[in-house]
Each structure stands twice: as structure tokens, then as C-alpha cells.
């Protein structure tokens, strides 16, 4: 019984032809018609076919009877060719390699050499052992419990929108910041002051607007009441002034016959003011 074959269950490929395990086939290379292609497709390549032959013949990978293995290997190839099956070039390459090994085996071994190193079968044995190991590892991997086959994981459960992560701030940061603001007050002009300055005052603007509306004594478009060529701040103050006048009911909004809204003086309350 061969030594180096990985200690695993039968060849990783449980070869079956038309439902029959390949092991039960007669030694005389009987392949049912149309089954050879299926049979060869089960192998990843020539190395695996070779490994399977060696195992079936219970040969030792470390001491391969090259002549016999080559004979069997070539019979598969010839059979395949006879049935016009397309074989990968790798299969022919392997045949060439086997022939080369066989030829070198016939040469007398140099007396002084260590036979291990010069055994022409060594590289083939290494390759076959590596493949046998891969097959063993594949079988071991496939035997592990697998998600979706042997167990199911709990899929991540949804949750509500989460509160944002609080920033890293200590109370001392806030206190320190406040102290700094107190010790070092801003020197720049203050926005609040700008609003109350003489030419931009809200109250003043309200008076001006009310005067314009009263003078025109007709419904005015909003655009007509806003100062022309004004900066953003002046526009904002004017708009604020109109809104405030509307809130105080000094002005009122009326719907115009041509559509849209117009601003008029509210005669009931603000008209006389």
C-alpha cells in the first residue's frame, strides 16, 4: 500500500459515471460509451488523473512503477483521441514528461551519486504529494460547518436612526472659552449695533415705509417698497420693517385683480397714525 497519499477519505473527487462509482470498473479500462468525456471532466487536470491511477492501482507515490502508470495513462489518452475528445495540451505535456522519466530510468545510475537526488521520479512524486495534500485540505475544509449549509447566522437586525455621537467636549472647555470671551471681548463692530445705527434703524425704516405707502395711496408692489441698489443688510431691514408693519396692522396685504399681492395702508388702524 502506497505511503505518501494524504490520509483522507477516498479521492476528493468521488468519480461516478452514470451513477456507478468508478472504483467498480474493471481493470481493463472499460469506459461506457459517451462516459469518457464525463469521466475526464471530473479531473482538474492530468496530474489528478495520474494520482487517481496510482491510488486505484495501490501504488506508492514514492516508488512509482513508471512504465505501468505510463501505459495506463496513455491508454486513456488514446481512447479519448479515438473518440475525438478534445484534451487540454496539459495532458499531452504530462505524457511527454512520463516518457522522459521512463527513458531516464533506463539509464544506469551513476555509482557515486545519492540515488534520492537523482531519481527522475522525484519531481513527479513531489507534485503528486502536493496535489494529494491539496485534496486532503479541500476535503477537510469542506467538512467544516458552513454558513447556509450547516448553520445560519443571525442577520444584522435593523435599528432606529441613532443619535449623533456627542463631540468630545469637557465642561472645562466651555468654562475656559467663556472666560476667554470675557477677558478678551471682540473689538470689531457688532452686528447688533449696526441694526440700531441711525441710517439702518428698523424703526426709522418703518416710518419711511409708512410715509411712502401713505403718499402713494395705492396698492404697492413689494419690490417698489424695497430701497433700490441697497445692500443685503438694508434689504433685510426693509423687509423686516414691512413684516413688522404688517404684524402691527399698520399695513395690510390685499389681493390684486391682476393676481399677486400688493401692500396698502391699513385705513382702519394705521392709516391715520
Amino acid at each position: 500500500m502506497g505511503g505518501a497519499v494524504a490520509e483522507v477519505r477516498p479521492p476528493a473527487c468521488a468519480i461516478q459515471v452514470l451513477g456507478q462509482p468508478m472504483e467498480s470498473l474493471p481493470d481493463g479500462l472499460f469506459i461506457p460509451p459517451d462516459a469518457l468525456e464525463v469521466f475526464l471532466e471530473d479531473f482538474s487536470g492530468p496530474l489528478e488523473l495520474l494520482l487517481w491511477l496510482i491510488r486505484r492501482n495501490r501504488m506508492d507515490i514514492r516508488d512509482i512503477p513508471v512504465a505501468e502508470v505510463t501505459r495506463q495513462y496513455l491508454r486513456y489518452l488514446h481512447e479519448a483521441r479515438r473518440r475525438n475528445l478534445e484534451l487540454a495540451a496539459e495532458y499531452l505535456l504530462m505524457a511527454a514528461w512520463l516518457a522522459e522519466i521512463k527513458a531516464r530510468m533506463l539509464l544506469p545510475a551513476p555509482v557515486a551519486a545519492e540515488d534520492e537526488d537523482l531519481d527522475p521520479r522525484l519531481e513527479l512524486a513531489r507534485r503528486l504529494e502536493a496535489l494529494a495534500l491539496v485534496q486532503g485540505q479541500t476535503a477537510a475544509l469542506n467538512a467544516l460547518p458552513q454558513a447556509g449549509r450547516d448553520f445560519w447566522v443571525a442577520r444584522p437586525v435593523a435599528h432606529h436612526a441613532l443619535p449623533p455621537t456627542p463631540p468630545q467636549v469637557a465642561l472645562t472647555d466651555i468654562v475656559q472659552c467663556w472666560r476667554q470671551l470675557l477677558l478678551d471681548p471682540p473689538r470689531k463692530p457688532l452686528p447688533v449695533h449696526t441694526l440700531t445705527s441711525a441710517h439702518m434703524g428698523l424703526r426709522q425704516r418703518m416710518v419711511v415705509l409708512l410715509r411712502i405707502c401713505r403718499r402713494e395711496s395705492r396698492p404697492c408692489l413689494l419690490a417698489e417698497l424695497l430701497p433700490p441698489l441697497a445692500d443685503r443688510l438694508a434689504l433685510a431691514v426693509s423687509l423686516l420693517a414691512i413684516l413688522e408693519l404688517l404684524r402691527q396692522q399698520a399695513l395690510a396685504l390685499v389681493e390684486h385683480e391682476s393676481g399677486g399681492w400688493r401692500v396698502v395702508v391699513n385705513e382702519q388702524t394705521g392709516g391715520s397714525g
Binding site: A158, P163, T165, L190, T196, L202
Partner: protein
Amino acid sequence: MRERLLALLLSSGEPLSSDHLATVFGDDPDFTGWETALDALLTEGYGPLQLVFVAGGYRLRIHPCHNSLLARLHGETPRSLSKAALETLAVIAYQQPVTRPEIEHRRGVALSAQIMQQLQERGWITVAGHRETPGRPALWVTTPEFLEHFSLVSLESLPVVQTRNGGVHQDSPQDEAG
């Protein structure tokens, strides 16, 4: 039966419709009463799980009471506040209730809407009303969450800040604005 139903729901990445569940359970007498179990799950939940009906099917959800814990796992890594946001927070904390123009006045720079939004999203500041002056500006205050986050019993427990020429900071900007 409840556990079987949960097993199905937990292993599924998408909501399961009644029809789908009915197909899985079939007429199998082992699985009678799954509809009752479904109803029970909908009303009672199961530990930290709630069952909700969404997108035409049933799906499990973590009960929102665990949100703050989940945020620790799934939330982005905390970043420090910008100086502008920190100053704004300091002004609101010490001067509340305070309007936006007053905050700008105190800091000497215009206040971006983004900062206010950021602080609001943190749940640290909120609008407590409006000042009855023209424009009725919103009055900003800190929230109970703010106190809780900084382990403050009340606003009175904010550390007192004194300056040499004390009292300057007591000037309420609302007097200036009024």
C-alpha cells in the same frame, strides 16, 4: 412556535411577507398557530427585539431604548467641537436665554446657521420662545440633555467665571439691543 418564527425572521436579511411565511410553514401540523405567534410578537416583541410590519413584510428591529448604546457601536468616532461652536455653546450656556444677534455681538463674528444646527442636533440647545422685539428673535437656551451630558444638576452649578474688572460680562446684551 414563537422561537421557530423568530429563527426564520432572524435568519432573513429582508422582510418576510405573510404569504412567504405561509409557504414555508405550509400545511405542516407541526407549525399550526404560527399566525397567533406572529400576532403575539407584534404586540409583545422579544427581549430587545420588536417586530414591525414594513415594506409589505415583517421584520425585526432593535427596541429604540437601546439606541444610545447602539450609537456607541455604530456611531462615528467623536470629534471635538470647533472653536466657533464651543464659543457659541459657552455664550448660550452662560447668557441664556439669548438671541442669535446677541451671540454674534458677544463673539464679534457672524454666526453660521450650520453651528446652531450642529448644536441643536446634539440636543444641547433649543428655542425656548421669542423676544417681543421687532423681528421676534428666537431665544436660545440649553437643554436638560446639556446638563446631563456635563453632569450638571442645574444651570446654577455652571462654574462661576470671574474677571478682574468684574461685572462687565453681566451686561445683558438684550439691553443694548433693546
